[in-house]
Amino acid sequence: MDLTPNDDQIALVSATADWCRDHMPLENARSRSRDLWPQIDAMGWASMTGPEMELDHATEALVFAELGRFLAPVALLSSAVAARWEPRQVKVALAVTEGRMLRVLDGSDASAALGVVDRRAMLFDLPAALSAQPSLDPTVTVARFDEPPSAHALADARAALHLQLVAAAFAVGCADAARDMAAGYALIREQFERPIGWFQAIKHMCADMAVRAAVARSQLYYAACALDSNADEAAFHVAAAKRLADQAALENSRANIQVHGGIGMTDEALPHLCLKRAHLLQFVIPAERSALLASA
């Protein structure tokens, strides 16, 4: 039993953060070039648990939490799942279904989209050209299909859990980003002749952000290990991780805007990017009550 990252994992996380800071800084999230995906692809993040690298979900979760902190492209989620359970070397877009309606997120240069229907991961075929539009999340485009295109289910039932897990990791990263932005701002912004972080009202709001992020991150680690060890209760633990990570991402993002005050409500500041990403992630296999209440 060990729920702390080992030295290799720490080095990998730190290298990921360095790369993101240099090549994918949050400040540029709204104007990412089409060249970004090939660079990301070259870094191997989309195939960490695939047949070539064969890393475990624990390592993947650690790295994806770091990528999530920089609001990395959401196609990383779907591509990573596809790479593991139906290996292919291409970008796979993220699919969100609701009733008959299918939304394809981050679909540029993708020929397929991966999403979950009735707890089963599905690969949807995409037409050559998508009519994509801007979406709520400024880093993501959306293309809508009133009727879903042709699709097939992935053979292994764990693929859906895998998608839920990496989405939870992204949400944990998002929660971390919001917490750090808020704490950083609370240290430098002054009102009433003091840094606002001196005031308990702000300090405790930041403390609650830290609590939510820590709780979600811990469960993420446990869930990743449970999936790695094929534990019976993996489905519960992954759902629990997703529930807590979604809440942490959304509530931290909201609190971050409140801590920032006026500037937090503007398009030019960064806090709204976390908020919008947090909302997007809510739609990627939200944790159902029934999954959380299921007997192990």
Partner: protein, 383 residues
């Protein structure tokens, strides 16, 4: 205590309703800022001509001189009729005008008030600064007296309608070296004066309704000072209580409509079958009712004593947080369609994103709680 209205008041309500039914524009208020201003001015003029502008403003300045209850009735019927938001006239009607009524000279009132009521003068606010948000007393924009003029330098931020306004209620430091609340003045600033630059700021909902305003040796006549040099803090505070008399009515009626629409939506799409949704809706319906009751209590207090009670700060805080919960429910009921939002859309998502301002603008929720703790409960000041 009673919740009924007198026969006169009931008749007045009927008059409001009849006129609104016949005259509320069928087209929506335009989203485009330039078109919106034309719309806003025309609608305000129409209200004025029909006698519905400034219902409780003094009649010598173009108002109707009626009671606050009649103003409340008008606002209730106005919202129920889905009459358009007064938009660019908001600051003049709800803030600048009331401040002038309470603090300005005869000349200032005689010149400005009728123009506000007629939609001829658009006003904007000039209180917040990049360094002084919740901490209004941290204002650094300053005016140096030179002859009969102030020479103003500095900047203001979060100014709605700055790009279309004719006048600004500008609070600035007119005593060199003064600190905090002392040495501030409340001044009428002509937005067309040379030296003023407006930089629009885009909100995270996509609108550019507010802006940063820069002052570079802007000359304002000393005659434009309201309430006397150095009394700016007192003048600014006086309006808060006026605003809190009837300022809540429009919000309250809007929230009443919103909760009914949310319940109808949840019934229509079946989401109300989820007890969690149903219970949240039930809870908010009770709370919206309570806000009306609180608002009525507050107005009753104004009628009885001429002043809103200290609980006005409670209404403000509670309404702002309730509004955000209503907006959250609206996007929750929207489902994955929320993902389709893009800048330019004017829907529940835009309302939700704009709604973050409710607990930030005009004194954050944190400041409101300080005020409640200190003024209502007598706890020691921590700042």
């Amino acid at each position: 205590m009673d919740i009924g209205f007198s026969p006169d008041e009931a008749r007045f309500r009927d008059e409001c309703r009849e006129w609104l039914n016949a005259n509320v524009p069928t087209e929506k208020r335009p989203i485009d800022a330039a078109e919106a201003i034309v719309f806003d001015k025309a609608w305000q003029r129409q209200l004025f001509d029909a006698g519905w502008a400034g219902i409780n403003w003094p009649s010598e300045y173009g108002g109707r001189g009626l009671s606050i209850v009649q103003q409340v009735i008008w606002l209730e019927e106005y919202a129920k009729a889905h009459a358009p938001w007064i938009g660019a006239n908001f600051v003049g009607i709800n803030h600048g005008g009331p401040t002038l009524i309470l603090n300005a000279s005869e000349e200032q009132k005689a010149w400005h008030l009728p123009r506000i009521l007629k939609g001829e003068s658009i006003w904007c606010q000039g209180f917040s600064e990049p360094g002084a948000g919740s901490d209004l007393a941290g204002i650094r924009t300053h005016g140096r007296i030179e002859g009969d003029e102030l020479i103003v330098n500095g900047s203001k931020i979060w100014t709605s309608f700055a790009h279309v306004a004719d006048w600004q209620e500008l609070v600035l430091r007119t005593e060199e070296g003064s600190r905090r609340h002392a040495g501030l003045s409340w001044v009428i600033c002509d937005m067309h004066t040379p030296g003023i630059t407006v930089r629009p700021i885009r909100k995270m909902s996509g609108q550019t309704e507010f802006a940063e305003v820069f002052y570079d040796d802007v000359r304002i006549p000393l005659a434009n000072v309201v309430g006397g040099l150095g009394n700016g803090w007192k003048v600014a505070m006086s309006t808060l209580s006026f605003e809190r008399g009837t300022g809540f009515i429009a919000d309250q009626v809007k929230q009443s409509q919103e909760i009914e629409e949310l319940i109808a939506t949840a019934r229509a799409n079946g989401r109300i079958a989820d007890d969690c949704i149903a219970d949240d809706l039930a809870q908010m319906r009770a709370e919206v009712a309570a806000v009306r009751a609180m608002t009525y209590r507050n107005i009753s207090e104004v009628m009885r004593t001429g002043q809103p009670g200290p609980e006005a700060s409670v209404i403000r805080l509670f309404t702002s947080e309730l509004g955000q919960r209503l907006e959250r429910m609206a996007v929750r009921l929207k489902g994955a369609a929320m993902l389709d939002f893009q800048y330019g859309d004017d829907d529940e998502v835009a309302d939700y994103l704009r709604g973050f301002a409710a607990t930030i603008a005009g004194g954050s929720a944190q400041i409101q709680r300080d005020i409640i703790g200190e003024r209502l409960l007598g706890l020691p000041k921590s700042r």
